[in-house]
Symmetry: C2
Subunit: 256 residues, 2 copies
């Protein structure tokens, strides 16, 4: 029996990878990984009695600002059981830091992700102080200076770009373009041949502006080759502004 | 305790709907419904010891030709537990008929789908006789004339059309464009306002030609209004040929 942590501060759940949660490599892609992180985060909130309705009553909504992730060479395949986990790592009046992981059944990380959240006042469309009743229950240590996710570098040198129209099915149950979908726009321009032969080992992403539901986005891509690894730099532009920046480090696929 | 059937002929599994399996209506869309049907079909095959490897050894691959589906007004929401089920209904030398369902925990149908499969010789790229060792284990009644899914009507009158580029993430673990994704191309042109206020109650779809991974498809749409219901007629074209035809009947969303 795999032991799962389920406390105020930390929550784990078992999950079996479906075939439609994996790319044609047989492994989950980054966008599905991020969707699973949102799922375990939601599950933790519900476990603590803080469902979407409770959060909405505060007039605010949790918004993710940035992620920093690290993936191991060994990745799970469809059909595999994994542990999805999250911990409320630290927080202060305006920021909440969470960790996420996807582990094998022996608690070895397939992926480990750091995420920074803020709370957005939905009426005024601006940051708000995180209400104590939405933060205190998770018992995360209060820290003035948080160890935030690393920021992606600026696009350097020449870039190529590709347009993506936001589709209805990019919008999730929160009525916003799903944050995880950005990873499809970011990585699709790398092309099938590259994506079949490389796997992400690290990434940083920063969300600056929301993409609107009828928008067409421009996904910009620059590549930096360095010995065995490739680093791809990304920006998603819409309506004349940069909405998202990201940087991903790739290694050749591990067929072991 | 919900009783599940798991026999040679019929297989059921429990599934909890994830938020990323639902559209912004909170209910699963048609493409996710079809993905879940493929999942339970795979699970049934694996339960019978006939995994993908065993099928590949025969030199063939199961290919779906057509679906006919009916959905109830009451649909599950994310977080709900559902029963996914399948039965090998009937078969003959070249065709296999399967039923699928998504039920509530009291075995009432949310959706009921009939599917027609053939086996494709992967080398010769043409139909082959279904090997007995892949068919007999499911104990489906042999019938000369099968009660096949209804065919969708031809596009009648004026149509609008929209282009979709096949993206890397439309390709599934079988290295083909995922059959379920066609439903996103089919229905996205109806627009977010329509899709938020209508739910599908019946559909037929026929797959004639495979869409290739680097293709751009043209999704054609005509609408027929009739009292309270709307019927949408669809064709997906690629490379100068019609790849898929479909017809979907929609009712105003049931907010009950």
């Amino acid at each position: 029996m795999t032991e799962l942590q389920q406390t105020a501060n930390c929550y784990e759940m078992l999950h079996q990878l479906k075939y439609y949660e994996c790319t044609d490599t047989g492994h989950p892609g980054l966008s599905m990984l991020m969707s699973m992180m949102t799922m375990v985060s939601d599950a933790h909130s519900i476990f603590m009695g803080l469902d979407r309705q409770k959060v909405e009553q505060s007039g605010g909504a949790w918004v993710v600002i940035s992620y920093e992730g690290h993936l191991s060479a060994n990745q799970p395949r469809y059909g595999d059981q994994v542990i999805l986990g999250t911990r409320a790592t630290a927080s202060n009046a305006f920021f909440a830091l969470r960790e996420f992981w996807m582990d094998d059944l022996h608690h070895h990380h397939y992926a480990h992700i750091k995420a920074l959240f803020v709370m957005m006042n939905l009426q005024k469309r601006r940051l708000m102080k995180i209400p104590d009743e939405l933060l205190a229950p998770f018992e995360s240590p209060v820290q003035k200076r948080l160890d935030k996710p690393k920021k992606p570098g600026k696009l350097s040198g020449n870039f190529t770009s590709q347009q993506y129209r936001v589709r209805y099915y990019d919008i999730d149950v929160n009525h916003h373009v799903n944050n995880a979908r950005y990873f499809d726009w970011l990585t699709d321009p790398l092309g099938a041949v590259f994506l079949r032969h490389h796997q992400p080992v690290a990434f940083t992403i920063q969300y600056q502006n929301e993409v609107q539901e009828n928008a067409t986005v421009e996904s910009r891509l620059a590549r930096i080759q360095d010995d065995g690894t490739t680093t791809s730099q990304h920006e998603v532009w819409s309506g004349g502004e940069c909405c998202t920046s990201a940087e991903i480090t790739w290694a050749p696929v591990n067929n072991g």
